[in-house]
C-alpha cells in the first residue's frame, strides 16, 4: 500500500504545469535594406501613362522601421520609406522630407498565422522637379534625364510576418501607385535582408543559398532585373 502511494507522488508534482514557449511577438527588422517586389495587378491603361512608362518598377529597396513609444504604453508605429521616393527627395522643394515615408499604426496582436498588421498608413509622396541628364564619366554609366515626378504610394493591408524562425523578416501589402496621375495597383512581397545575387550562378553564396545571408527556410529566387534575392511565393514565402 505504501508503495502505491509512493508511486502516485510524482503525479502530484506534474499536475498543472504548462511548458509552451511564448510567441516572439511582433518583431520588425529595422533596416533600410528591405527588398520589395511589386507584382502587377492592374496597370494604368491611358496612352500617356504607357508612353511615359509611368508605372512602378519591378521592385525596389525600401526602409521599413518600427518605432515604440514607451511613454505611451508601447504604442507602435510602422514606417515605410521606398527608394523611389527617398531618391527623389532632394529634388522636392515642396513637401517636407517626412512625407516621403508612409506611417501607420502597427497592431501588436499577432494573428494565428504570425502576421502583424498595420493600418491607416499615410500616403507617402514626392513632388520632384525634372532631372537633367548626366553623361557617363571614367567608365561609370551616366544618369538619364527624368520628367518632373509627382509620385504617391498608398499602402493597404500591410502585414509583417513575425514567427520565431523568421522574426519580422517578411512583408506583404497592397500598393496603389500613382505617377503623375497614372494609377496602377500592385501586390507587394518584401523580405529582409536584400542580398545581391548573380542570375544563373551555381555558387550557393551568390544565388541566395547557404552563405548568402538569406534565411535558409525562405523560398527565394534571384530576380534577373534587380539582381537581388526576392521571395518566390506569396508571403510567407517558405520552403
Amino acid at each position: 500500500m505504501t508503495q502505491r502511494l509512493i508511486a502516485a507522488a510524482p503525479l502530484l508534482l506534474l499536475a498543472g504545469c504548462g511548458f509552451e514557449q511564448p510567441n516572439s511577438g511582433c518583431i520588425v527588422q529595422d533596416s533600410a535594406s528591405w527588398i520589395l517586389k511589386y507584382d502587377e495587378v492592374q496597370k494604368a491603361t491611358d496612352d500617356v501613362c504607357v508612353a511615359n512608362k509611368r508605372f512602378a518598377p519591378v521592385g525596389e529597396l525600401a526602409g521599413i522601421f518600427k518605432y515604440i513609444d514607451l511613454e505611451k504604453g508601447g504604442d507602435s508605429t510602422l514606417a515605410i520609406r521606398p527608394d523611389g521616393l527617398a531618391s527623389r527627395g532632394a529634388r522636392d522643394n515642396v513637401t517636407n522630407q517626412r512625407e516621403q515615408t508612409a506611417f501607420g499604426n502597427l497592431n501588436l496582436q499577432q494573428d494565428a498565422q504570425y502576421f502583424c498588421s498595420a493600418d491607416d498608413l499615410s500616403v507617402a509622396k514626392v513632388d520632384a522637379v525634372a532631372r537633367e541628364a548626366v553623361p557617363g564619366k571614367d567608365g561609370k554609366p551616366g544618369i538619364s534625364a527624368e520628367e518632373p515626378k509627382k509620385l504617391a504610394y498608398v499602402f493597404t493591408h500591410v502585414k509583417v510576418y513575425s514567427a520565431p524562425s523568421a522574426p519580422g523578416t517578411q512583408f506583404s501589402a497592397d500598393l496603389e501607385y500613382t505617377d503623375n496621375g497614372c494609377t496602377s495597383t500592385y501586390k507587394v512581397r518584401g523580405m529582409w535582408p536584400a542580398v545581391a545575387c548573380t542570375p544563373g550562378s551555381e555558387v550557393p553564396a551568390l544565388s541566395c543559398g547557404q552563405g548568402s545571408g538569406v534565411n535558409p527556410d525562405f523560398a527565394v529566387v534571384c530576380d534577373p532585373t534587380l539582381k537581388l534575392c526576392v521571395p518566390e511565393k506569396a508571403i510567407p514565402s517558405l520552403k
Partner: protein, 1060 residues
C-alpha cells in the same frame, strides 16, 4: 523489527509527496552497523547504541533490531565515540570514529558476554568507506587544511582563503578562470552550497560567496554519481557545513600574510610594444580574524561566531616607452618591427609610477543551534562575505577572477581609478531536522535567503543617474583611429618628451602614439540578486522481507530575481570617429534610449531591468539494501524552470526535466571496508539569468554622429568639459551629422532606438548531461583506502543562441535540434579513469595520491568560452553562425591527458609540548591543446578554427610543488599556538600555461579537414570572391605559439594561529 502498520504512515507519506526538494544538509551523515554476539556470532538485538561527539548536542541513542542492526541518522560531521551496552554483555566503546559531511559509514561490532572467559581477539575495524552512495569526490576537513598548503594566494577568493578553491584537490578537478572545473565541465556549472543554501551567482552560476575555510567544518567536493537530492548542476557539487559550537568554549585567533616581497621572480610575457606599458605584481595579501563557539545552554543551545577581514593589494608599475623608428632616404620615418611582429620600443627613463589595486573584505558568520529534544533540532545562521575593490585612486581587482585583469593602464590614470566595485553576498538560513517513530521517519527542512550585490559605481560617491560628480561626466575616448593618430604628450606630462617623442606634433604622434585613450567615467551599474529557496526532505526507513529500504522524497522551490540599474556616466560614451570622409568628429558609442518616431529620441539616463526565474523540483528515491551486501539506489528527480524577462513577460520555460539516477553498491565482505559501485545519472542545468537581463528584451540604444566644434560648426561637439559634453548630445545643438535625404531610413540624425527580444525555438529543450561511473574502493589498513574509478560524461541538448543567416537574426535554441537542425549538435564527451589512495590523518600522518587519465573532446566548452573568457552562459559566441562551426570539434581547451596529485603530511613531536608538521604537495599535469585561429567577418579575432581544434599540439607539462611547514606549541590542554609557513610553487617553476593561438588576424574561412601542410597557402580569405584570395606568409602572426601566460610565481604565506 515489527513493521509499522501503513495506516499510521500513510499520512506522513502523503505529506512527503506534496512537499519537495532537497539539497545538502548540515546534519545528514549517518552511522550504521551490525552488532554480533562474539561467542555465538549471532545478531545481538536490543543493544543500546549511544553516539556522542563534541559537535553533537547531547547524545543520540538507538537500539539494535532483531537482526542486530542499528542506524543513527541526521548527524553533523565530526569525531564520534560510540558505546554499545546491553545487560549480560561487557560494554564496548569505540572512539575516534571520523564522520564526514553527507557520509554513511558502517561500524560493525562484536560484544563479549559478561561470563566470557576465552581469549578472543576483537579485530578493530576502521570504517571510512562510504557504503551508502556511489558519489565520487573528496572530503576536506581541518586535518587536511592545517597540514597541506591549500588556498593558493591570488586567484578567486585568494586572500579570504575561500572554501570552493578546495575543490581543486579532487581527482578530475582543475582550476579554471572562474573557479574549479569538475569532470570536464566549466566552473559556472557547479552547484555551491553552504549549510544547504545555494551560494551560486544567480546570473552566471559561479560561486558568489567565497566563504573562508576558517568558518568551515567540512567541505564535500562531489564530482559525480550523486543521488537526486542534489540537482540543477551539470558540473560538480561543492558543499560546505559551517562550524557549530560545542559544550565548551572553543575558538581561534589567526592571522596570515603573503608578502609580495617574498614572491619569486615572474617571467614576463613579451607582447606588442606600446607607448604605455605595465607590470602587475602581488604587493601584499593577508587575512586575520577570530572564531568563537560555545554553549549558551549546555547540550541545548550552542552558538558559533566568526569574523575574518582580508585585504589584497597588487602593485602595478606603469611606464612610458617610445616606438623605435628608422628613417628612409626621403627622411620618412616608420616604426621598427621585431622578429615577433611587435613594434620595438625604448623605455622612457623617469616615467615609471606605481599604482595599487586594492581589494578588501570583512567576512562574518553567526550561528545558533538549538536542540529541542533528542529527536528535534533547529539551527539559524547568518553568513556574509562583503567585499569591495577600487576607489580612492586604486585600481580594481576583478571579483570574478580574483586578479587584476587590466594588463596596462592605457588611458588616463584618473580614468582607471575612478570606479569602485562591490561584490557582496549575504546568506540567511534556517534548518530543521526531526525524527519520528524511533528514527524511522526523518524530516529535514531548510529555508534560506541569499542576497547578492554586484555594483560598479563612481568612487566619488555620485549616484547612478545623477548629473553631479563622476556620474554626470561622460567617458570620452580619443585616438580611436590610426588615420587620426594622437600622442601621449597631448594628454600627459612625459619626461624628456623632446628626446623620446620628438619636437613636432607629427613626430610625437608617430613615436609616442596612444590608442583608445579614455578620460572620464564609463559604464556603471548597481545590481541586486536574490535567491529565496525552501527545500524539504522526508526519509522513511522500511525493513521488510529481503532487505531494508531507505525511501526519500523531497521537494524544493527556488525563486530568483535580478534587479539591475545600469547607466553610462553623463548618459553617453563619446568616441572619436570619422563622421564624414576625412572629417574627425564624435559618435555616441553607447547611449541608452529609444526613438519615439524618426529623429525623435528619448534618452534613458538609467536603464532599469528586473528579471525573475522560478524553479520547482522534487525527487523520489529508494536505497534498497539486501543482506548488508548490496545496495540499489534508484531515484528520479523532476525540475521545471520558468524565466521572465525584464518586461515581466515569460521569456521561455524549461519543463519536464526528468533526471533518473541509478546506482548499485556492493559491499562484498559486508563489513564496510570495501565496495564496488556503478551509477548512471542525468543532470540538468538551471539556466543562469544573465541572458534575461541582456536579451529579454535587450537594452534599447540609439546613436548619433556629431561634428566636432570648429569654425564650420560653432555648435559642434567639444567634450573636453562636462558642459561641452551635455551640449554635444543635446538635440538643440543641431550638431548631428545627417545622412543624405536619399537615405531610406526615415531617421537621418539618429540610428538604433529599439531592441526586440530574441525569439525562442518553440521546441527548445533544457540543457542536460548524462554520466556513467564505475569503481571500487578498498580499505587496506586503518584509515587508508585505495580505489579505482571510471567516469564517462556526455552532453544531451545544449542551449545556445544561433543565427542561420550570417548574423542577421538570432534565436535561442538547441544546436542540432529544432530550428537549428542544420547546426552540428553540441558535443562534450569526457572520459576519465582515476586510481587513488587516501589516508586520513591518523597515527601522525596523512597521504593522498591520485592519477587521472582523461579526455575531453567535443565542440562545446561550457558556460563560458575559454578562448576569450566570455562569461555569457547559454548565449556566448560558440554556435553563433554556421560557416565558422567547421573544425570546432576536437580536444577542448580544458583537456589534460594526465593529472597527478600527491599530498602527504607528517607530524613529529619534537618535545612534549612542541609538535612540527611537514606537508608536501605535488601536482603535475599535461598541457592543454593549441589551436590555429583566425578572424571572421563581423565577429573579429579568434572565431575561425583554421585547422581542426587541437591541431597545434599541446602546451608543456606543468609541475607545481608546494610545501607547508608548521610548528605548534601546546600551552595547555586545549590551548595551542601554531606558526606556519606555506610555500607555493617552491622552486618558482615558470611553466608556460598558455600560448598565442592567433595564427592570423585576417578574416578567413576554416580549411575543411585541414592539415598543417595547408598553411598558409590553402587558407582562403573571407569574404568569398572570384577569384578566391588565399593567405600568404606575410599574413601569419609571428607571435603564434609564443607564451602568453606563465605559472604563478613562488609565493609564501606566513601564518599565526592561537587555538583554544
Amino acid at each position: 523489527m515489527t513493521s509499522i502498520p501503513w495506516r499510521r504512515t500513510s499520512g506522513a507519506v502523503l505529506v512527503a509527496g506534496l512537499l519537495c526538494g532537497s539539497t545538502a544538509l548540515a546534519q545528514s551523515s549517518v552511522i550504521i552497523g551490525t552488532v554480533l554476539n562474539t561467542e555465538t556470532k549471532q545478531p545481538a538485538a536490543d543493544v543500546v547504541v549511544t553516539a556522542t561527539s563534541p559537535n553533537l548536542q547531547g547524545e543520540q541513542t538507538v537500539v539494535t533490531d532483531a537482526q542486530g542492526q542499528y542506524r543513527i541518522p541526521q548527524l553533523p560531521p565530526g569525531t564520534y565515540a560510540l558505546r554499545f551496552e546491553k545487560e549480560s554483555f561487557k560494554p564496548f566503546a569505540r572512539s575516534d570514529v571520523q564522520l564526514r559531511l553527507n557520509r554513511t559509514i558502517r561500524v560493525n561490532v562484536e560484544l563479549l558476554p559478561e561470563a566470557f572467559t576465552e581469549e578472543v581477539t576483537v579485530i578493530p575495524l576502521a570504517p571510512t568507506i562510504d557504503v551508502g552512495s556511489t558519489s565520487t569526490g573528496v572530503n576536506v576537513g581541518d586535518d587536511f587544511i592545517r597540514r597541506i598548503a591549500v588556498n593558493r594566494p591570488g586567484g578567486k577568493g585568494g586572500a579570504a582563503r575561500s572554501f570552493d578553491s578546495l575543490a581543486e584537490l579532487a581527482p578530475g578537478a582543475q582550476t579554471d578562470t572562474f573557479g574549479v572545473s569538475v569532470n570536464g565541465a566549466t566552473s559556472p556549472e557547479n552547484g555551491y552550497l553552504v549549510d544547504g543554501i545555494s551560494t551560486g551567482d544567480p546570473s552566471v552560476g559561479i560561486n558568489a560567496s567565497p566563504m573562508t575555510v576558517e568558518f568551515v567544518q567540512d567541505v564535500n567536493v562531489i564530482t559525480g554519481g550523486y543521488m537526486p537530492e542534489f540537482g540543477r548542476s551539470t558540473g560538480g557539487v561543492i558543499t560546505a557545513a559551517t562550524k557549530s559550537g560545542s559544550n565548551e568554549f572553543h575558538g581561534t585567533v589567526f592571522a596570515n600574510l603573503t608578502p609580495g616581497a617574498l614572491e619569486g621572480k615572474r617571467e614576463l610575457v613579451v607582447s606588442q610594444g606600446s607607448a604605455i606599458s605595465g607590470v602587475t605584481k602581488l604587493h601584499n595579501l593577508g587575512d586575520f580574524g577570530a572564531t568563537l563557539g560555545g554553549p549558551i545552554l549546555k547540550d541545548k543551545l550552542w552558538f558559533f561566531a566568526g569574523l575574518a577581514p582580508s585585504v589584497t593589494r597588487f602593485a602595478h608599475e606603469r611606464a612610458f616607452n617610445s616606438f623605435n623608428v628608422t628613417y628612409d632616404d626621403q627622411g620618412k620615418a616608420s616604426r621598427v618591427v621585431d622578429g615577433r611582429g611587435f613594434f620595438a620600443t625604448t623605455p622612457i627613463p623617469g616615467s615609471q609610477r606605481t599604482y595599487f589595486a586594492d581589494s578588501s573584505s570583512v567576512q562574518y558568520m553567526g550561528k545558533l543551534t538549538y536542540l529541542i529534544n533528542q529527536d528535534h533540532n533547529v539551527s539559524l545562521s547568518l553568513l556574509g562575505t562583503p567585499s569591495t575593490t577600487g576607489g580612492n585612486g586604486k585600481l580594481l581587482v576583478d571579483p570574478q577572477q580574483g586578479t587584476v585583469i587590466l594588463t596596462r593602464m592605457s588611458s588616463s590614470p584618473a580614468y582607471h581609478t575612478a570606479l569602485v566595485q562591490d561584490a557582496s553576498a549575504r546568506t540567511l538560513g534556517a534548518a530543521y531536522a526531526g525524527a519520528f517513530m524511533d528514527k524511522r521517519l526523518l524530516v529535514d527542512a531548510n529555508a534560506g535567503w541569499f542576497h547578492q550585490i554586484s555594483s560598479q559605481l563612481p568612487s566619488d560617491g555620485s549616484k547612478i543617474g545623477s548629473d553631479e560628480g563622476l556620474a554626470g561626466t561622460a567617458r570620452v575616448t580619443y585616438a580611436t583611429l590610426n588615420k587620426f593618430p594622437r600622442a601621449l604628450t597631448e594628454f600627459e606630462s612625459v619626461p624628456d618628451a623632446d628626446t623620446y617623442c620628438g619636437t613636432t606634433l607629427a613626430e610625437q604622434r608617430l613615436r609616442c602614439q596612444v590608442t583608445n585613450y579614455n578620460l572620464g567615467g564609463g559604464a556603471i551599474f548597481d545590481s541586486k540578486l536574490d535567491r529565496y529557496q525552501v527545500n524539504t526532505k522526508l526519509t522513511y526507513i522500511l525493513n521488510n522481507f529481503g532487505g531494508s529500504h531507505i525511501i526519500k522524497a523531497g521537494a524544493d522551490a527556488e525563486f530568483l530575481s535580478y534587479d539591475n540599474r545600469k547607466a553610462y556616466t553623463g548618459g553617453v560614451l563619446l568616441q572619436e570617429a570619422e563622421v564624414a570622409t576625412g572629417v574627425l568628429g564624435w559618435t555616441d558609442a553607447r547611449r541608452y534610449g529609444y526613438l519615439h518616431a524618426p529623429d525623435d529620441p528619448q534618452v534613458l539616463m538609467v536603464r532599469e531591468s528586473h528579471s525573475t526565474s522560478n524553479t520547482v523540483g522534487g525527487f523520489l528515491q529508494d536505497s534498497y539494501t539486501i543482506a548488508s551486501m548490496v545496495t540499489i539506489n534508484a531515484g528520479l528527480r523532476y525540475d521545471a524552470q520558468w524565466l521572465y524577462g525584464s518586461d515581466g513577460k515569460l521569456a521561455f520555460s524549461m519543463g519536464n526535466q526528468v533526471s533518473p539516477r541509478l546506482g548499485v553498491i556492493v559491499d562484498p565482505m559486508r563489513n564496510g571496508r570495501s565496495k564496488l559501485f556503478a551509477s548512471f545519472s542525468r543532470y540538468y542545468e538551471q539556466v543562469p539569468i544573465r541572458m534575461l537581463d541582456r536579451g529579454y528584451p535587450p537594452d534599447p540604444r540609439y546613436v548619433a554622429n556629431h561634428y566636432a566644434k570648429d569654425t564650420n560648426h560653432p555648435n559642434g561637439c567639444d567634450p573636453s568639459t562636462v558642459e561641452g559634453q551635455r551640449a554635444c548630445v543635446d538635440p538643440n545643438s543641431h550638431n548631428e551629422v545627417a545622412t543624405p535625404e536619399s537615405s531610406r531610413d526615415p531617421s537621418r540624425l539618429y540610428s538604433g532606438g529599439k531592441a526586440e527580444a530574441r525569439p525562442v525555438d518553440p521546441d527548445i529543450k533544457p540543457q542536460s548531461s548524462d554520466e556513467l561511473a564505475l569503481g571500487g574502493e578498498y580499505e587496506v589498513m586503518t584509515s587508508t583506502r585505495v580505489g579505482l574509478t571510471y567516469t564517462h560524461r556526455k552532453m544531451n541538448a545544449v542551449i545556445e543562441d544561433m543565427s542561420r543567416d550570417e548574423g542577421n537574426t538570432y534565436f535561442l535554441g538547441n544546436p542540432g535540434f529544432g530550428f537549428a537542425k542544420d547546426f552540428p549538435e553540441a558535443k562534450r564527451d569526457y572520459d576519465a579513469a582515476t586510481v587513488y589512495l587516501t589516508r586520513s590523518f591518523s597515527d601522525g600522518w596523512l597521504a593522498q595520491a591520485s592519477y587521472t587519465w582523461s579526455r575531453l573532446y567535443g565542440n562545446y566548452a561550457g558556460l563560458y568560452r575559454p578562448e576569450t573568457n566570455q562569461l555569457d552562459p547559454n548565449t556566448n559566441a560558440d554556435f553563433d553562425i554556421i560557416p565558422i562551426l567547421q573544425n570546432r570539434t576536437g580536444l577542448l581547451p580544458a583537456d589534460r591527458t594526465h593529472a597527478i596529485k600527491l599530498f602527504g603530511a607528517k607530524e613529529v613531536a619534537l618535545t612534549q609540548k612542541l609538535v612540527a608538521n611537514v606537508g608536501l604537495s605535488y601536482r603535475g599535469s599535461s598541457g592543454t591543446p593549441i589551436n590555429y585561429l583566425g578572424a571572421y567577418l563581423r565577429y573579429g579575432q579568434g572565431e575561425t578554427f583554421i585547422l581542426p581544434r587541437g591541431s597545434g599540439g599541446r602546451t608543456p607539462w606543468i609541475n607545481t610543488i608546494d610545501t607547508s611547514l608548521g610548528l605548534t606549541y601546546r600551552l595547555a590542554k586545549e590551548q595551542s599556538v601554531a606558526f606556519t609557513v606555506d610555500l607555493f610553487n617552491l622552486f618558482n617553476f615558470q611553466g608556460v600555461t598558455s600560448v598565442d593561438n592567433t595564427y592570423t588576424t585576417a578574416t578567413v574561412y576554416p580549411v575543411a579537414n585541414g592539415k598543417k601542410g595547408d598553411l598558409p597557402g590553402s587558407v582562403q580569405k573571407a569574404p568569398d570572391s572570384d577569384p578566391k584570395v588565399f593567405l600568404t606568409d606575410d599574413d601569419v602572426n609571428p607571435n603564434f605559439g609564443k607564451p602568453t601566460q606563465y605559472q604563478p610565481p613562488r609565493q609564501v604565506r606566513l601564518g599565526l594561529r592561537y587555538t583554544f
